[in-house]
Amino acid sequence: MTKIKVLDPRGYPPKVVGKRLADRPMTLDGKVLYLIDCLFDNSDVFMEQLRQWFAEHIPGCETRVVKPRESWVDDPELRARVAADGDAAIIGVGL
């Protein structure tokens, strides 16, 4: 059977630049934990349940529920605020 040569239809992927996870605290007790509601439908209800769980089980952890300006769009101001006075974050519930 004759072999033929064809071209690859795929685009050019960007180089993946490795990054590093942030160092973890030993405990969440006494820390500020941001609960970031990503605005997807009903994620605010989920985040409230998460907030209540922390209040009941790790009362020494201060939780702050916050929302970005828009869903699925980066919010640098919110990130700056979380980075400035937060020790950890949970973001959800994302698609």
Binding site: D8, L33, W53, S71
Partner: protein, 450 residues
């Protein structure tokens, strides 16, 4: 991932059906050991107690208690795997390994590079012939595409577009139209769970030059140019953006038939109104492709009959109101509206004025809640007024500039369709417009790519 870079330990929470997507996004973002946690699908419409059960229940992906994953993810020290350099380059070969035609056809299908309909294999000869359809060099950079705005964007050049145009069965003289669509930065293979598609409409002299059909069966499979241009745009999108694979780079729950091909031509010569592209700032002799992001709904009707107003209102209110409408109407319908005293703009104004919905119904919509409500809460008009409205109060759902009318059809029937479609030529992908050297070329201008 950006928060991790700013020194904040972060747990992203998703529903379990997005596990593969979450992993792929983490790898592409250079953080493959991102400590994701998952809850069951769905979260939408679940009660507080049901969501509390999610919190206290099992992570269906990692098979461990959800909160165990959250707490360990936030407090366990980084391990060797976390500290490995996650940088890597991916191959972008120009050619595939030579093989038999049958094997290559199977290979393309297995790789997810087709739409599962037969393709033309992109041999060197065919691609070279296709490239004669444009004056631009094969290695000229065209733009970027991505499945959705939080995924990585892949780049592509003229040759990559030509390869996909060959696969779709297009002719070289269609290539400028396909290049223009690809350069828009709007993917015809959005990965949204809501199954978007693009609808494209061509205006100007090129319609006749390449023999597009704006007559009988204008929206159907009755013309080579219409069929293969639309298909090529779809194949370029899926292959040049890094794929359109279910569960990974495609998450549309129902899918969308417009994702096979959806490119049409306006019947400018038989329309009683100005051509669509002229209404949007182009000259009559410009050749233009106008891209609409939509495909959620299609309503059909005939007339206008005596009760046309009620019919149009029913269509408007039945629309998924996050996605504005484009009315496609046969020249017969357009001429009848003129007899009723309307021109195109006055008809659009009428449609906007009568596109009304109770506020409670307007806000009881997943996408309006997710994507519009934050702007309303921030005080942006007219969304803020809609949010202040009494639940029973009627609110406007489509502004006049969101409603479009395009004329086509074979005049065998006074038919119209109302399709979901947001006009995108003004919202070109910023990555594409800033990284290409197409400055001065308005989005959609086909002549630029001749």
């Amino acid at each position: 991932m950006a928060l991790e870079q700013q020194g904040v330990p972060t747990i992203p929470v998703s529903t379990h059906v997005f596990a593969r997507l979450a992993k792929a996004t983490a790898v592409a973002g250079g953080l493959p050991t991102t400590r994701s946690c998952f809850v069951p699908q769905p979260v939408v419409a679940r009660t507080p107690s049901e969501l509390r059960a999610y919190v206290e229940g099992m992570d269906p992906v990692h098979k461990r208690p959800f909160m165990q994953g959250v707490l360990e993810g936030l407090t366990e020290p980084l391990n060797d795997e976390d500290l490995k350099d996650a940088s890597f380059e991916r191959d972008a070969p120009r050619y595939l390994e030579p093989d038999t035609e049958d094997n290559l056809r199977l290979f393309f299908m297995e790789q997810g590079w087709t739409d599962y309909l037969p393709i033309m294999l992109p041999t060197e000869e065919r691609v070279e012939a296709m490239l004669k359809g444009t004056s631009h060099a094969a290695d000229r950079f065209v733009g970027y595409l991505r499945p959705t705005n939080f995924r990585e964007a892949w780049g592509f050049d003229v040759e990559k577009v030509a390869i996909n145009a060959v696969m779709a069965g297009a002719r070289p003289d269609y290539l400028p139209v396909i290049l223009t669509a690809a350069a828009s930065g709007v993917s015809a293979r959005s990965s949204s769970t809501t199954s978007w598609a693009t609808l494209s409409f061509v205006n100007g002299p090129i319609r006749k030059e390449i023999g597009m059909n704006d007559g009988v069966g204008a929206m159907g499979p009755y013309n080579h140019a219409n069929a293969t241009i639309g298909r090529a745009y779809c194949l370029v999108s899926q292959n040049c953006q890094g794929g359109s694979m279910p569960g990974d780079t495609y998450m549309g729950s129902l899918g969308n038939n417009y994702n096979y091909t959806a490119c049409f031509a306006e019947a400018e010569e038989r329309s009683p109104w100005s051509p669509f592209h002229v209404d949007h700032g182009f000259k009559p002799d410009d050749s233009v492709i106008s891209i609409f992001f939509g495909g959620w709904y299609t309503h059909s009707g005939f007339g206008p009959r005596e009760t046309w107003q009620e019919k149009f209102i029913r269509c408007l209110v039945a629309a998924d109101h996050y996605s504005p409408p484009v009315f496609v109407m046969d020249p017969i319908v357009a001429r009848e509206f003129i007899k009723l005293g309307f021109d195109k703009q006055s008809l659009i104004r009428w449609l906007s004025e009568h596109a009304l919905m109770k506020a409670k119904n307007y806000w009881d919509d997943q996408w309006v809640t997710t994507l519009v409500k934050p702007h309303a809460e921030a005080g942006v008009e007219p969304m803020a007024s809609r949010l202040r409205a009494d639940p029973e109060e009627l609110v406007s759902i489509f502004a006049p500039d969101a409603i479009k009318i395009i004329v086509m059809g074979g005049e065998t029937q006074g038919a119209f369709k109302m399709l979901s479609g947001r006009y995108m030529n003004r919202a070109v992908n910023t990555l594409s417009s800033t990284r290409t050297d197409t400055k001065g070329a308005p989005p959609g201008l086909i002549d630029y790519w001749r």
